[in-house]
Point group: C2
Chain length 340, copies 2
Amino acid sequence: MPENTPTLKEIARRLNISVSTVSRALHDHYSIGLRTKMRVKKLASELNYEPNQTAIFFKQKKTFMIGVILPNLSQDFFAAMVNGIEDVAYKNNYTVLLCQSRDDQEREKQLVAAMRSHRVDGVLISIAKNTTDYGHFELLQRHKIPVVFLDRIPKMPDIHYIASSLGAGMQQAVDFLLKKKHRRIALINGPEHLPASQERLEAFRQALWHKRRKYDPSLVVSSDLSKEGSGKAMQQLLDLKHTPDAIITFNDYVALDCLQYAKRSKSGGIGNVSIVSFANEPICDYMDNAPIASVEQFPYLQGEKATRLLLQLLEKETGRNDDVAVHELLQPQLVIHRPA
Amino acid sequence: MPENTPTLKEIARRLNISVSTVSRALHDHYSIGLRTKMRVKKLASELNYEPNQTAIFFKQKKTFMIGVILPNLSQDFFAAMVNGIEDVAYKNNYTVLLCQSRDDQEREKQLVAAMRSHRVDGVLISIAKNTTDYGHFELLQRHKIPVVFLDRIPKMPDIHYIASSLGAGMQQAVDFLLKKKHRRIALINGPEHLPASQERLEAFRQALWHKRRKYDPSLVVSSDLSKEGSGKAMQQLLDLKHTPDAIITFNDYVALDCLQYAKRSKSGGIGNVSIVSFANEPICDYMDNAPIASVEQFPYLQGEKATRLLLQLLEKETGRNDDVAVHELLQPQLVIHRPA
DNA sequence: CTGTTAGCGCCTTCAC
DNA sequence: GTGAAGGCGCTAACAG
């Protein structure tokens, strides 16, 4: 920190008044005379005085910072989520401490520790895909630091969260494909241990059952969500005696990787398989070879809602702590890119 | 901040020793007996003690935070840059305060004020596209807060920056197209007031001149970088009597928007125009209809280098301040996607 | 080896 | 209307 950064004390010294007068003047306290107030404000702006937040935080025991931990920022989905978060946070004079877990549990733990250390007022998290130990989240709970999970939710009791209803999205996807006369609908799911995968699978079965179609386990394969993993999963489907005529994928990236794989491996026949996916990433708009439909999960809205909820929890904290777990499942919406 | 957050004082009280002993024990100070050290560490971890950074910052006059202001995070280019920044910062125990200016000058100014207020040790900035007033940057300079600009650089004297050489990139692009026997190469540039546009135009002319080709101003048009703007720019080229047989675009997004526009407006003839662009965004890998080549500008590397430079400046600050402006222009590399 | 003390910048209570 | 004093959690002299 540069030596010459102006402080209240410095302003007070130059004006030959006391520190508390300066403080009050800058805060427009009613008891300060107009003349002094003007003199103080003038000098403050001349010196480009900026209150030292580190001191204020320290004193107030409140940082007006919210920590945000997301798996990554390169997916448009999370980038949009950040925008929703930032917009609400800034409007309420909170600063956002934004970090990427890179989908790594260890890093996520470190980041949670950093958040605690920085004394953020609350935390928003979308958990890493390989996070199975929830100790770090429990720690936050135990220390009464409000947490709101979004989109990727741990299986823990009594947590606050905002997410998109995978069940509803899956139902829409299945209905859409059935209406298009597709008979053999496959599912390329994520890793089996992922709650998000389990939910999708369950919803997939339910959606079929709901329409009185029978569920064929050989049509369900898993990708580890890497490019290669998705290629392998696709190959598994291509190897079937009865190849599917439609595929629902875990998300758009999986869909793109699968399509690319199919194309490059020149596997004829399945070329015009219809794919429906999740996320509705904007890049799909540029592709010829994109999913024909995708489940929009409104990441921006999720970010907004989660942040509003968190801020509410922060307000309430001063009062008594009625620990009601709040959660909301947003209604997703199937967006149709091409009629095919 | 929750009431029961453990402090040094609390640990000291429980162990009936002094606060400073606790502090030293946790810092592995040589003068503390092994026994006490163990007792302290044990209790600290039982209580999940996390040092209060806000107090440490306040005391040390150093936050170990670096502020990062980028135009946005949804472009892969900047997301990759963030990764480079984070990786270096974390390795050196710095926290990153990451913000988006959303390409808005006003927001950028607010963010700079917030950075000053948070007393970040230094700042990394890629400036918003409409930033023309540099007052907020000068303020940082004046208050001796080290700043390193990356990729999008303001026209200011004596600044530190890391960027990619647009001149070299443009030369590679032009050479590539000429070698492919293209005769009429157009340029779809960004807004004229942008330094980055001016540089590209200048480099374009030089690159042509260098190969003894004549420069035809009617082949240079501007996009405001929006989807519509790029469409309009494309239309201008389509309206020419002699349409170009190759186009160099400001970046990949412009290229994609132009291609999409051309396709949707069914403007025959120019369908197979060759496009070369800047940025080499990974999404292009998924497209059939992508630029045939793109200038890779190594955003991750830029992030790394800029952060290293900033950390160097922070080290030096304790010493005397020899204000030599450091800058580095990275060599970009034309990546060829398709031979066409 | 360990304890005591002072002070970082700011806000707040109390006193004038 | 204004000033003086205390304290937030921590570190770093200076004492023992």
